[in-house]
């Protein structure tokens, strides 16, 4: 094992030292705060939006129905959920190929909640230097007080996060009443506390360790990178040799580069790395160091961009190629799946039919000598209106229903109906045959569904 491997291993297994990132302002910090506000707004706000007398977004697990604004999805529509997940994954690949770890720095829940938790920490304990001082402080009373306040606020926010999370799966308003009356079910309580604990642990305690040790994306994202991917880089040609200097000093005569070695880029880094050592897997692309360095460059009256968002190619030749085969391929597949998903949702059958054979009695022979098979129909009305469906059978000569059947199904519900299908056994060549059972809405023949079923001949 060579040295680099050893040092990597050591850093991976070393005892963690608390990182106290310094607060930073600038264009990327503003972007991140905007992203945090928007994403948190969506997360905490979405379950409260009403729609047609119900919650607009509700993954109603107890009732096995997913509501997404005007759409109601059933377990049978699982394919749409799968397609949605594929779209999400492909978008991640696409944006990673173009702009690197954009997801990590601005949109990942880990980043977003950590940002909120750090904001609380800063409000309570102060910025980096005050926090370091507090950690070393011998004034027990003051320290315990501030830490208690911080953890108290964290825990309250975590519990609210857990409540919101469960509110996506069970109506949030009723859940609120149940919590207020201390009458939540055991599993609701469990999941609120579980999610609260995960939030508190991940955003309060684990922070960058989640990115370093737990995140699968961090391990395979390099596969999507190439020399045209945007990364955060330190311009060492311009920066080195680094060193302290007076503002008035001319860097050319002093033989110095632009880097004044103020170490602010290290202090603001949430994962505690030095970007001047080159691109590292720990870098989550949050661009805090860019903001910090640009600020310093301004103060020194040097041009900005000593640390900047750029590509390897831009460094070498000054040019970045945006449209490369990889990016085009990701985009094409993404568009294709999105189109298929939208087409599928728009043309989705509004009626579903499941047929289950009666398992107890395979067949019966009636007094007239006809064969009789019994089926249970499950008629699913995904339309927004109530409908009465007529049942029809086809597929064998002389096939008929013992009695005409109509099924009334209210919007968004399933009704069961039992039908008896009659066939003259003389007309059946084989011991069993496929028949087709169809349901047709009485007021709208376009609303129909057909299912195949097995018909057994008496032996």
């Amino acid at each position: 094992m060579d040295n680099t491997d050893n040092s990597l291993k050591q850093s991976l297994y070393a005892k963690r030292e608390t990182i106290h990132p310094r607060h930073v302002t600038g264009i990327f910090a503003t972007l991140r705060v905007t992203a945090v506000v928007v994403l948190m707004g969506i997360y905490y706000g979405l379950p409260w939006i009403p729609w047609d007398g119900r919650q607009a977004v509700l993954f109603d697990l107890p009732a096995r129905k997913f509501y997404l604004f005007g759409i109601t999805l059933w377990p049978q529509d699982f394919i749409y959920l799968a397609a949605l997940l594929i779209v999400a994954a492909l978008s991640l690949f696409f944006f990673t190929a173009i702009a690197g770890r954009l997801w990590c720095g601005f949109a990942c829940p880990q980043t977003v909640w950590t940002e909120v938790f750090m904001w609380i920490e800063r409000k309570v304990e102060g910025d980096r230097n005050q926090r370091i001082k507090l950690d070393k402080s011998l004034n027990k009373k003051h320290k315990v007080f501030l830490k208690t306040v911080k953890h108290g606020i964290w825990i309250i926010l975590s519990l609210w996060t857990g409540y919101t999370f469960v509110g996506y799966f069970t109506p949030i308003i009723q859940l609120g009443y149940k919590i207020a009356a201390l009458q939540t079910g055991p599993w609701e309580t469990f999941w609120v506390l579980f999610y609260a604990f995960a939030t508190y642990g991940n955003a309060g305690w684990m922070r960058e360790q989640v990115c370093l040790y737990m995140c699968p994306y961090a391990r395979f994202q390099s596969a999507m990178f190439d020399k045209n991917t945007l990364v955060i880089s330190y311009d060492s040609a311009r920066g080195e040799p680094r060193g302290h200097r007076k503002r008035s000093e001319d860097i050319k005569t002093a033989g110095l580069g632009s880097c004044i070695n103020c170490k602010l880029c290290v202090q603001v880094c949430p994962t505690g790395i030095d970007i001047r050592d080159g691109l590292q897997y720990q870098c989550i692309g949050c661009a805090a160091c860019i903001d910090a360095c640009d600020d310093v460059m301004d103060k020194m009256s040097y041009p900005k961009g000593l640390i900047r968002y750029t590509t390897e190619n831009a460094f070498v030749s000054g040019e970045t190629k945006l449209l490369r085969p990889k990016v085009i391929l990701y985009a094409l597949v993404l568009v294709a799946i999105c189109a298929a998903l939208i087409y599928g949702l728009v043309t989705r059958d509004a009626v579903g039919l499941d047929v289950i054979r009666d398992r107890n009695v395979l067949y019966r022979v009636t007094n007239e000598g006809l064969a009789e098979n019994i089926y249970t129909l499950k008629v699913l009305n995904k339309d927004n209106l109530d409908h009465t469906f007529r049942v029809a059978v086809t597929g064998l000569p002389g096939i008929s229903l013992r009695e005409e059947k109509e099924v009334f199904v209210t919007s968004g519900h399933v009704e069961e109906a039992i039908i008896a299908v009659l066939v003259d056994p003389v007309d059946m060549k084989s011991p069993s045959a496929d028949i087709h059972i169809q349901i047709i809405a009485k007021n709208n023949p376009d609303l129909n569904a057909t299912a195949k079923a097995r018909y057994l001949k008496p032996r």
Partner: protein
């Protein structure tokens, strides 16, 4: 393979958690937990309990599998027997 307890815990609990989530979602897209408990002969009235218990069982099984994996990775050979 010496690994701090924290890292071993992460390796045990985290990937199995993700997989248990995916498996549960997939499983229950096709099977109603009430039917599942019926066929197991268990008295159940709440779907939420069905989802939760299945998820936790899958999680525990996954964690157990990783624990097994970590255990067999620890061969005595790795403890400095071979020196250059």
């Amino acid at each position: 393979m010496t690994m701090p307890l924290k890292r071993r815990l992460i390796a045990m609990l985290w990937p199995s958690f993700v997989c248990a989530g995916i498996f549960s979602a997939f499983l229950f897209a096709f099977i109603d937990p009430l039917l599942l408990s019926d066929s197991l002969g268990v008295e159940a009235s709440l779907r939420l309990a069905g989802y939760s218990i299945t998820f936790l069982v899958l999680w525990a099984l996954g964690a157990l599998s990783t624990l097994f994996g970590i255990a067999i990775l620890k061969t005595p050979k790795n403890d400095g027997e071979r020196k250059p």
